[in-house]
């Protein structure tokens, strides 16, 4: 009997192996007493190893596991963004109440599981891996959202995310079934072939499939009108997890968005392009209008994330190399901008009794400049002001949109950005322009409204290296890539060249 041993490219899947092994080690570390405190460190080592292995594969595109995965520069760049975000999340989780309640080992193992899902998702080139990766990414996140066991908001957030996320997944799966039914193929290239071979151009079967897949992905990337969960879940989840969700999930979901629509459904451009453009426009309006008047900073960033997802969707809409590059650039910039903001929010959450309310940052400019500057830079960058990576990101996106004949969407981005100033600058004004904070209530938080944290106050949180460090680093990167964008532009253009 002949047995053909399949060829396995171990170098290609080494990042996945590293993450899986690391996950097991971190989980087991919780069992052995001497290592109980070492979960964060082990997680960082795992992430570092995975990042190193990914960089080793840079610029060497290959298909893995009989075409189920495609490790090209797009997959690698998105994975690196996810890993960077996870590393930030580990630092921000130090001494976080949620970590201790859930058990440090389990918490970090779940985090690594989610990262593993993201790396898989960014590389998936097949409906099956696509769906499995999406679930690997999501299920740990449902749990992580609810890890702050004693806070009702956290549990609610986890449950809400679970329900909405499952609906999204189900919709996506249904859509996939239509596509498979029509084309008889599960891998993306095969779907494209199948559509052409079976003469399914504009066939209702395919169109329904595309629509449902788009809706499913829109849930994950919080594109309006499928965004309603976003502010609630962001607000309820422990803040480090919120930061991870906001940045990494979005990056991974956009990677598959690009690959699925541009590779598998590239021939159906005319049918999905206008629809996605409309979704992008709706997101920009809904997100920016929704964020106005939010007092909770996490909700504010949630709505801002909806708007930003709308901008980024523009990169998918144009279905071009420059569109893909601009999206990857924007995702990287978005990671830095958001991580700076979330680091500051975590610090203030522990330091004051206001939780994530905007009052927590009032007078921050005078009190804690090392936190105020990063948050200021982050807000200005999100608003797309020059000398920040946010400006270059918008420039890149708009250039791609105008090139792809979607100038009206570029104008939408400009108009959305104008609206967004109203809420981003409100945060800046609270930090620098109000009179000093009136009084700091001593013991009991007597506030109603957003996030009445019962967490013990750590009055020195604003000086801790693991909170200030990430904030300053992310803000510095935001400015650096705003002034010297060339390295990041090259990074992104590699990713863009991978698809086209």
């Amino acid at each position: 009997m002949n047995f053909n041993e399949p060829h396995i490219d171990y170098a290609g899947i080494s990042p996945l192996i590293a993450l899986t092994v690391g996950l097991c080690v971190v989980l087991l570390s919780a069992v052995f007493k001497p290592f109980r405190r070492s979960a964060p460190l082990l997680t960082l080592v795992t992430l570092g190893a995975a990042a190193g292995l990914l960089i080793w594969q840079w610029n060497d595109p290959k298909s893995l596991i009989t075409g189920a995965l495609r490790l090209d520069d797009l997959a690698i760049s998105i994975s690196l963004i996810a890993i960077l975000t996870a590393a930030f999340c580990v630092l921000l989780s130090l001494r976080e109440r949620a970590t201790e309640e859930a058990g440090s080992g389990e918490y970090h193992a779940l985090l690594l599981g989610s990262v593993l899902g993201m790396v898989l998702l960014a590389a998936s080139a097949n409906l099956v891996t696509f769906f499995v990766a999406l679930e690997t990414l999501s299920i740990p996140l449902y749990i992580l959202c609810a890890t702050n066991l004693r806070r009702e908001g956290s549990l609610e957030s986890g449950l809400k995310y679970l329900i909405v996320g499952s609906i999204g997944s189900a919709t996506l799966l249904y859509g996939m079934a239509f596509l498979y039914g029509g084309t008889g193929a599960t891998n993306f290239a095969g779907i494209a072939d199948g559509i052409a071979r079976n003469g399914l151009d504009g066939d209702p079967l395919i169109l329904i499939g595309i629509a449902m897949a788009a809706v499913g992905l829109a849930f994950k990337t919080s594109i309006a009108p499928f965004h309603q969960w976003t502010p609630d879940v962001y607000q309820g989840a422990p803040t480090p997890i919120t930061s991870f969700m906001a940045v990494a999930t979005k990056a991974a979901a956009f990677a598959v968005f690009l690959r699925f629509f541009d590779v598998a459904l590239g021939s159906q451009l005319d049918s999905w392009q206008p629809a996605l453009a409309a979704l992008a426009a709706i997101s920009i309006v809904v997100g920016n209008v929704g964020a106005i008047g939010q007092d909770s900073l996490k909700r504010l960033l949630g709505y801002s994330g909806v708007a930003q997802a709308g901008y980024m969707l523009g990169g998918v809409v144009v279905a071009s190399e420059s569109g893909t590059s601009s999206l990857v650039f924007y995702l990287a910039a978005y990671a830095f901008m958001n991580l700076a903001a979330f680091s500051v929010i975590v610090a203030r959450e522990r330091e004051t009794v206001f939780g994530d309310d905007i009052r927590a940052v009032r007078g921050l400019g005078a009190e804690r400049p090392a936190l105020a500057w990063p948050l200021t830079i982050s807000m200005l960058a999100l608003a797309g002001l020059p000398a920040t990576a946010g400006f270059i990101g918008k420039l890149y996106l708009i250039e791609a949109l105008v090139e792809g004949d979607y100038t009206w969407l570029a104008v939408f981005i400009a108009v959305g950005t104008m609206i967004s100033l109203a809420y981003y600058l409100r945060v800046v004004a609270a930090m620098w322009m109000r009179p000093e904070r009136e009084t700091i209530p001593g013991g009991t938080p007597a506030i109603a409204g957003a996030a009445p944290e019962a967490d013990p106050v750590d009055p020195e949180a604003g000086r801790r290296w693991y909170l200030v460090g990430p904030a300053v680093f992310a803000a510095a990167a935001t400015v650096f890539f705003g002034v010297i964008p060339q390295p990041l532009v090259e990074f992104a253009s590699h990713a863009g060249a991978a698809l086209f």
Binding site: P386, W432, M433
Partner: protein
């Protein structure tokens, strides 16, 4: 050299962060003086007969996107750069003699604003221009918001609300301009290599249909900045909120960036649309002249009198540019410098008046000339320059503008002349109200007046000196700007509006 000029202020500002608090002010003054020195050096070395860009600098900045870091000086921006350097010295010196909270950040922002403004004037890459144009707002946002005055007591806005309003207004224009700039580059590249270089774009040219909408996107940005009538809603609140040293440079220079943008970008890049919409812009300009003048003589807050007079003056400058003749644009550039030089001392004087009377209301002032004859004399010179007294450089500027306008659009010129007459009224009203007529109701009360101090004289006298010097020798500017202006305007004169093209068929 040109790089040093651009970045020196910011470098001084950043270094200032490492100095003790008390040294921050003098250090900033030194920084602005060094910048001024470099600017003067560059004016001295400028080849006045040439229309080409000088001191050019060009390197690829973001090569993937076609954006270059390219700077240069020519007749259009030479004296605006010098004006910027002069007024910043005035503003910073004025501030250095006073106490400001958090002085290091304050001066850092002031100097950052200078770099941003110089960048907008020097940029020869369309996108670099947009970047600096937007970036100018950031330091002013913090200066106005954090060091400004809340006006809630007078039924106005808080400083941060007023600033937010200003930012949103001005960015509405700027963001559309960003889209328009990118569209210009991509559409004129027509599938080829994308470049944002203003010179290259001029040569490539742009289709007529695209010019039409792109023209308005740019015009919106520039008209808001000036501000022009109907787009001036942010101005009264922002002017009342602003701290005076920042307002000196803001009103003196920033408004001119808008007018300069028309000359640098709109005329050469969108000549067809410029000719087509000439009358629309002229109408807006005339409306600004009339509205600004009328408001300037009805307002009682001295800041707003100066603010609305700026609206009128900028209307004049715009009208000069859109005469689309060389003398109109020559006059416009001269007038930009003139107006910067008169409005800055006016705000310094306003600050001194407010310190003496404790009020910004002109009805509460009066009779100050008795005790402060030197201050009154300086004020008189500034006021006479504002109303374009024959012999002043402003007279020459307005003469050129009107000359250009008369030859091109005589009806518009007649309306514009009324603006000259009205400027006499509001300038003299401001001067008399503050310096002479002591209101009867306050006759009995002690006069809270004193002479100008040596320190403030150090700020005011050189500025007034510049006005006088320029009045004696306006050729200094005119002969250096003329070659470039002729080249710029020639672009437009070659263009034809679609109507005329139809007529020839």
């Amino acid at each position: 050299m040109i790089n040093v000029l651009l970045w020196a202020p910011l470098a001084f500002g950043l270094l200032g962060l490492f100095l003790p608090r008390r040294a921050a002010g003098p250090w900033a003054v030194l920084g602005s003086l060094v910048t001024l020195g470099i600017a003067i050096g560059m004016v001295a070395g400028f080849d006045s007969g040439s229309a080409a860009l000088q001191y050019t600098e060009s390197t690829a900045w973001i090569s993937g996107l076609g954006v270059d870091y390219s700077l240069g000086l020519d007749g259009l921006n030479l004296f605006l750069v010098l004006l910027t350097a002069v007024l910043w010295v005035g503003g910073i010196t004025f501030a250095a003699f006073r106490e400001y909270s958090r002085p290091k950040t304050f001066y850092l922002l002031m100097l950052m604003a200078e770099t941003a403004t110089l960048g907008a004037f020097l940029a020869q890459d369309l996108l670099l221009f947009v970047l600096f144009f937007d970036f100018m707002l950031v330091p002013f946002y913090f200066l106005f918001g954090a060091w400004g005055h809340d006006r809630t007591g007078e039924g106005g806005l808080t400083a941060s609300a007023a600033t937010l309003k200003m930012i949103i207004y001005t960015l509405i224009g700027s963001l559309l301009m960003l889209v328009a700039a990118i569209a210009t580059a991509i559409l004129s590249a027509d599938g080829g290599h994308i470049t944002f270089s203003i010179q290259a774009l001029q040569e490539q040219g742009l289709g007529h249909g695209s010019q039409q909408w792109i023209f308005w996107f740019f015009a919106a940005a520039f008209l808001v900045k000036m501000p022009a009538f109907l787009l001036h809603g942010w101005m009264p609140d922002a002017y009342r909120a602003a701290p005076l040293p920042a307002l000196v440079v803001f009103s003196g220079v920033l408004a001119k960036v808008g007018a300069y943008g028309f000359l640098r970008i709109v005329l050469p890049l969108f000549p067809d649309a410029t000719v087509e919409f000439q009358e629309a812009i002229l109408l807006i300009a005339l409306a600004s002249i009339l509205y600004g003048s009328v408001m300037a003589f009805t307002q009682t807050n001295v800041r707003l009198i100066a603010g609305y007079s700026s609206v009128a003056q900028l209307g004049f400058i715009t009208a000069g540019i859109f005469a689309l003749r060389a003398d109109g644009s020559d006059g416009a550039i001269l007038q930009m410098v003139n107006h910067g030089l008169v409005v800055a001392p006016i705000f310094v004087i306003v600050a001194l008046l407010v310190e003496r009377t404790g009020s910004e209301d002109i009805r509460e002032m009066g009779g100050m000339a008795m005790r402060a004859p030197v201050l009154a004399a300086l004020f008189l010179i500034v006021a006479l320059a504002t109303l374009a007294m024959p012999g002043s450089s402003n007279f020459v500027g307005e003469f050129y503008i009107l000359n250009g306008l008369f030859q091109e659009k005589i009806v518009f010129a007649f309306v514009a002349i009324s603006g000259v007459a009205m400027s006499a009224y509001y300038a003299l009203r401001l001067y008399q109200g503050a310096m002479h007529n002591r209101p009867a109701s306050r006759q009995g009360q002690g006069l809270m007046s004193r002479e100008i101090g040596v320190r403030d004289a150090l700020v005011l006298v050189p500025l007034v000196g510049c006005i006088v010097a320029l009045s004696l020798y306006p050729q200094l500017i005119l002969e250096r700007t003329a070659p470039t202006v002729e080249k710029t305007v020639a672009k437009v004169q070659g263009a034809e509006a679609p109507e005329s093209r139809l007529a020839t068929k």
